[in-house]
Symmetry: none
Subunit: 197 residues, 4 copies
Amino acid sequence: MQAKSPKEIKRDLILDAALKVFSEKGYHNATMNEIATAAGIGKGTIYEYFASKIQLFQQMLARGLYTYFESLEMQNLRRKTVEEMIHSLLEGHILFCRQHSRLTRLVFWDTQVQDDEVKDWMLQMRKEKEARLQKILEEGIASGELRQQDPYIMTLVVTGVIASIWAPLVLDGWDIETNYLADAITDVIMRGIRNQV
Amino acid sequence: MQAKSPKEIKRDLILDAALKVFSEKGYHNATMNEIATAAGIGKGTIYEYFASKIQLFQQMLARGLYTYFESLEMQNLRRKTVEEMIHSLLEGHILFCRQHSRLTRLVFWDTQVQDDEVKDWMLQMRKEKEARLQKILEEGIASGELRQQDPYIMTLVVTGVIASIWAPLVLDGWDIETNYLADAITDVIMRGIRNQV
Amino acid sequence: MQAKSPKEIKRDLILDAALKVFSEKGYHNATMNEIATAAGIGKGTIYEYFASKIQLFQQMLARGLYTYFESLEMQNLRRKTVEEMIHSLLEGHILFCRQHSRLTRLVFWDTQVQDDEVKDWMLQMRKEKEARLQKILEEGIASGELRQQDPYIMTLVVTGVIASIWAPLVLDGWDIETNYLADAITDVIMRGIRNQV
Amino acid sequence: MQAKSPKEIKRDLILDAALKVFSEKGYHNATMNEIATAAGIGKGTIYEYFASKIQLFQQMLARGLYTYFESLEMQNLRRKTVEEMIHSLLEGHILFCRQHSRLTRLVFWDTQVQDDEVKDWMLQMRKEKEARLQKILEEGIASGELRQQDPYIMTLVVTGVIASIWAPLVLDGWDIETNYLADAITDVIMRGIRNQV
DNA sequence: CATGAATGAGACTTCATTCAT
DNA sequence: CATGAATGAAGTCTCATTCAT
């Protein structure tokens, strides 16, 4: 935990403003002028920190995803069973959606960017996320905690449920207790994939 | 089934071209010129049928969603149990994803349009779809087929799984037998929500 | 000699305006807006005919050089001796400088363009011009009309003199009779390179 | 020869860097940043010594031309005949082109600067140079060394040849012995203008 | 004095929309 | 009706210049 340099502070300031404007207007409808104004700086200053609009967007997304995965990691440490892991995954996801609703909207909805580099990179992230989850589920099957099923289909179910939570939470401001929601969904999922003794 | 007027034929021609171009390039990167060329007509002619780019997009989406729901309806007629309905829902969805992969991409991914009217309308569609599904699930709970659970949470799980299927099918060209996939997912979902006797 | 299409007419209109503005302001200080205004059209219209500012400049130059060389060719037909050729070269050059003073300025002075393609292309033109002249001079040496001398050095002298004429003609509006000037310079040059019997 | 003050040293440092960058990139494509970096100083420091980019360019050119004329003067002292003067003029010019190829390029090619003050000043320099040469030639005519001819036309020929030398020397790196080249050109010129007894 | 972060005027370019043919 | 040439608003990005440190 080290102090941020002034450059990093302003960089973050711009990223914050970019997050705000991009999430409100979407990539194409956001203008560099708006972002500059939102950051309380001049238009040209952004270009001192980011080479182009698309790079600003990409790096804002990167920071957001990094935060997201970091927040999930913190939840997932020391979990033993698949059930616990899914529960903590859901809990982390719900908390993150609530705390960073704007960012979540961008990451899970606004994925429409035509820049091929960004697109490929986001696809890559999605695959990685899936692969990590699938590995956990495969281990669960091997240990006998989960029943014999195509692990990729299990993965689809879990990621699908996770992805579908953000909309009511962020768009509708769904007011439901985090733990209760995580419990209920974990319950449905686990009944679906658990090995019935 | 009545014969289409010449106006309707050309209108559909434009909508087809719009679907092709929008789905390949996304809303903002598609130009009216490209769409006109893809339709084999002049740029100005589009404006004889659609007032603006955003309205063309919206009406193309509307036609697509109408087709989607129509295709689901046809699958769902005369189904009795919730299990059958979910299975047919999945089957219809998978078939539609495969047959109209471009459209699916637009409807489930490219939702980034800032025009408020379109946005609200798409949100409305989502809510309606959810509401219809939730009603089916509630009836299943009432009839004892499904166990006592928050029906909205059940809805979330089902819609989430459905939404997550399109990506591997459309983006990765996942080659899996429709019925097998529908069976497997239905199985997981139903184990999760079925009333265990 | 065929009638020009409307597209070609407007293309020429834009090239004329470009010539006017570029020659008055130079490449970098000329704006597309000015050129459009000078042509009496909208800014965007230029881009219907030319892909970019640099291409407009390049094609304006190309048309100018084509006109220049064509005008020299017409002068040079049917000349027999080197003396006659140099005289007609000078005459053509002087006439062209007077008639297309703006263009001449661009071709002979404003050569400062950083676009590498244009630069290489202009260098190429210069080399070709030199090579053609040098060949004539070499033939003059072979035929005995000119004395034994390094033909490249002769070429340098002739091109140097030619290039230096435009400045007083164009910049200072030097009022001197074309034939008299051509005669006088030809005389000086020919004394310098003629084989003294 | 007096010691330079620290201010003058840094001023020269900046002018050197400006010469390097301007000659490589041209006026408009050179940036103050590059010049500062090339000089190893901060961007703002340039403005302690020069009021603006255009003034930096102008003063760099002025220093260059001053050096050029000084170098010619040194060659021309104590020359008696016109032939000797032209020969030494050529010799000095060739040497300068070789030693300061970058500067030469700027002075003889990159003349495209639209700032009226600089433009007028460079025109002024050109006129002065011409006038000085014309005076020498007029004296040659009066003394009978040169034949009766319009002295301005003679001047044109001489300046033209001089101006045309730089391109092969600087651009093509023409490898030719200085004295041989000066001799050959002087020979051609003098045959052209000398009074034939 | 020296610096370089900040600025914003201004340039090029795109493209939805119009309208004369 | 159909067209596509013409348009100009609007957006991204550059860079000379300023000024607080």
